[in-house]
């Protein structure tokens, strides 16, 4: 009779032992899958939110008067443009989507406008990402809604800004902010107009927030520390947002996840190990007679390890299904993630069917070795 048939028959025969072992592995896999699925969804959701909100870091010259900065919306001081490249090339920083800008209030056609020069986004090494803002070609401008309406400007109109000709690439829709009175141009064009070659007055960036794993540590102080090492004559302002709150919640859940999962693994391993040990005790006479019938040590070991592997495989599939179901149903309530962000992660099923049988076999290893080491003579003398 084939060993695999023996394993299946025994699993069906000793239902309670098999079901309890299955329960252990299903619990472990389901909790892992649900935590991981919701955790990943939460991460994606936070990233999406942050992208929607826009840049949350503003790096400005150190001597900037913050009160004035908030009143005017930009720094009256400037800093070299190459600061942005210096910052981008520095490894270990938690910044992404770096953009150098130069903005200044000027009077154009008898109206106060904010002339804003934007350089193409710069990504730190190895963090090449899709740009968050539109890229502006030299010789073109984007016109804020209020200005376009006031001056009757249309897309592709030719205009003159302080003696330089520009094509209107686009008249922007109403934003309800100071952007409505802005003219956006390429940084170098704006530098030329303002006669501020190679100067900028702000670097906008997106802080990924992921470095601050300890909620007790102020992320801003870490940012400032990092920045002080690279650009000592600048300062940073972090704009708090709902995204940061969500990110903190995600990090907290990851912290719990980091504790719960190893704890769960140890408990489930012990659980499966004890059940396998009970199984070995219950099957003492079976082991004895199999030995008498010529079964070698490896066949006896296969009986127990094979059972663990079969239960691990079934547990992986059921656990994945339950875990994904739990994540889809309860994830949005527990982790405050929008339901759409949670998707079944089928690659977890792939990992589960590999890891779960290995985990079960490892748990049943000692009991299997005990079964192998049992002296059949001692067992068969017990009448």
């Amino acid at each position: 009779m084939k060993i695999f048939q023996l394993i299946l028959r025994e699993i069906i025969h000793r239902k309670l032992n098999s079901l309890l072992s299955l329960l252990a592995i299903v619990t472990a896999v389901a909790l892992f899958v649900s935590f991981f699925t919701t955790g990943q969804a939460s991460k994606r959701e936070t990233t999406r939110l942050m992208r929607n909100i826009g840049f949350n870091l503003r790096i400005i010259p150190k001597e900037t008067d913050i009160e004035k900065f908030w009143i005017t919306g930009y720094s009256e001081y400037s800093m070299p443009e190459n600061y942005v490249y210096k910052l981008a090339s520095h490894e270990g920083l938690s910044y992404a989507h770096l953009t150098a800008t130069l903005q200044k209030k000027v009077t154009w056609r008898m109206r106060e406008i904010i002339l804003t020069g934007i350089a193409p986004e710069v990504s730190p090494p190895g963090k090449q990402k899709t740009p968050m803002i539109f890229s502006i070609e030299q010789g073109t401008v984007y016109i804020g809604f209020a200005l376009a309406r006031h001056f009757g400007l249309k897309n592709y109109d030719l205009i003159d800004i302080f003696g330089k000709p520009f094509t209107i690439k686009q008249c922007l829709s109403e934003s309800g902010s100071e952007d409505d009175i802005r003219i956006f141009g390429h940084l170098h064009d704006v530098q030329d107009i303002l006669n501020m070659g190679n100067q900028i007055n702000e670097i906008k960036a997106l802080h990924c927030l992921c470095v601050v794993e300890d909620s007790n540590i102020n992320s801003l102080s870490i940012l400032r520390e990092q920045l002080a090492g690279v650009l000592p004559d600048t300062k940073v302002i972090l704009i708090s947002s709902i995204a940061s709150a969500r990110e903190k919640q995600r990090m907290m859940s990851e912290k719990y996840f980091g504790f719960i999962i190893p704890f769960l693994i140890v408990v489930c391993m012990a659980w499966i190990g004890v059940l396998a040990l009970l199984n070995v005790r219950e099957r003492r006479h079976e082991i004895g007679i199999m030995r008498a019938l010529g079964y070698g040590s490896y066949k006896i070991a296969y009986l127990f390890l094979g059972k663990a592997v079969v239960i691990g495989l079934i547990g992986a599939v059921i656990g994945f299904g339950i875990g994904t179901g739990l994540a889809l149903k309860y994830g949005p309530d527990i982790f405050k993630v929008t339901a759409n962000a949670i998707n079944p992660m089928f690659k977890l099923l792939y990992w589960a069917v590999i890891a779960s049988p290995a985990f079960c076999a490892l748990s049943a290893f000692i009991p299997a070795m005990i079964a192998v080491a049992q002296d059949p003579a001692l067992i068969l003398r017990e009448e």
Partner: protein, 216 residues
């Protein structure tokens, strides 16, 4: 044939060493039926298991069919046991989750699957178990269980049957039946060594050995 040469077996316990077999020498010829008797703890089962290659003696030799079985590797001994020795125990030791047919086929044997299945069917028919082939051990009477154990012992056409109290759990009628099957094997030229307190087997036995304190 079975030849035991100055067989010694000592068990180490917390309260000291126990001599289960003390210089036991024995020669059993082909076609012989030997009964082993003795008080509880005299070493009967130890003797049987030592002959069966299940219990390595502390000293001495066990030669079965010209093979010094304890000089064989574990794997070789397991194979030798499967092919040459059949065991019958008082407690039957049937695998509870297999049916009768599968229990008989459990031993690793020689030949194709179809041939072994046919042999098992014939054997079970001979032992009046053909209507119980697909029953689980829990659905059988004690006599039927022991007949299944005998079928399992016989399936590989062994040279020797070692039976430890094969009738210990059976009523006189069933016991007679079981002894009858052992006698049948004996008559066919096989060696039977049976440990029993029962007298039913005495009429067929060639020799009765008494063991006391591990000595014959």
């Amino acid at each position: 044939m079975v030849h035991l040469e100055k067989l010694n077996k000592q068990y180490r316990t917390r309260s000291g060493d126990i001599k289960a077999l003390d210089d036991v020498s024995l020669h059993v010829k082909e076609g012989e039926l030997v009964v082993v008797r003795g008080p509880s703890g005299s070493g009967k089962t130890t003797l049987l298991l030592s002959i069966g290659g299940m219990l390595r003696p502390t000293k001495g030799q066990v030669i079965v069919d010209n093979n010094d079985i304890y000089s064989l590797s574990n794997k070789e001994r397991a194979r030798f046991r499967a092919e040459n020795i059949g065991f019958v125990f008082q407690m039957f030791h049937l695998v509870p989750y297999l049916n009768i047919f599968e229990n008989v086929l459990l031993s690793s044997g020689i030949g194709t699957k179809q041939k072994r299945q046919k042999e098992a069917e014939e054997l079970l028919k001979r032992l009046n178990l053909s209507d119980r082939l697909y029953h689980k051990p829990s659905e059988l009477s004690a006599g039927e269980k022991q007949r299944t154990a005998i079928a399992r012992a016989l399936i590989n056409q062994p040279k020797i049957i070692l039976a430890d109290e094969p009738t210990g759990n059976l009523d006189p009628e069933k016991s007679e039946q079981i002894i009858g099957y052992l006698e049948e094997f004996h008559q066919a030229g096989g060696i039977v060594i049976v440990v029993t307190h029962g007298k039913l087997v005495d009429q067929y036995t060639d020799r009765i050995i008494y063991l006391k304190n591990g000595q014959i």
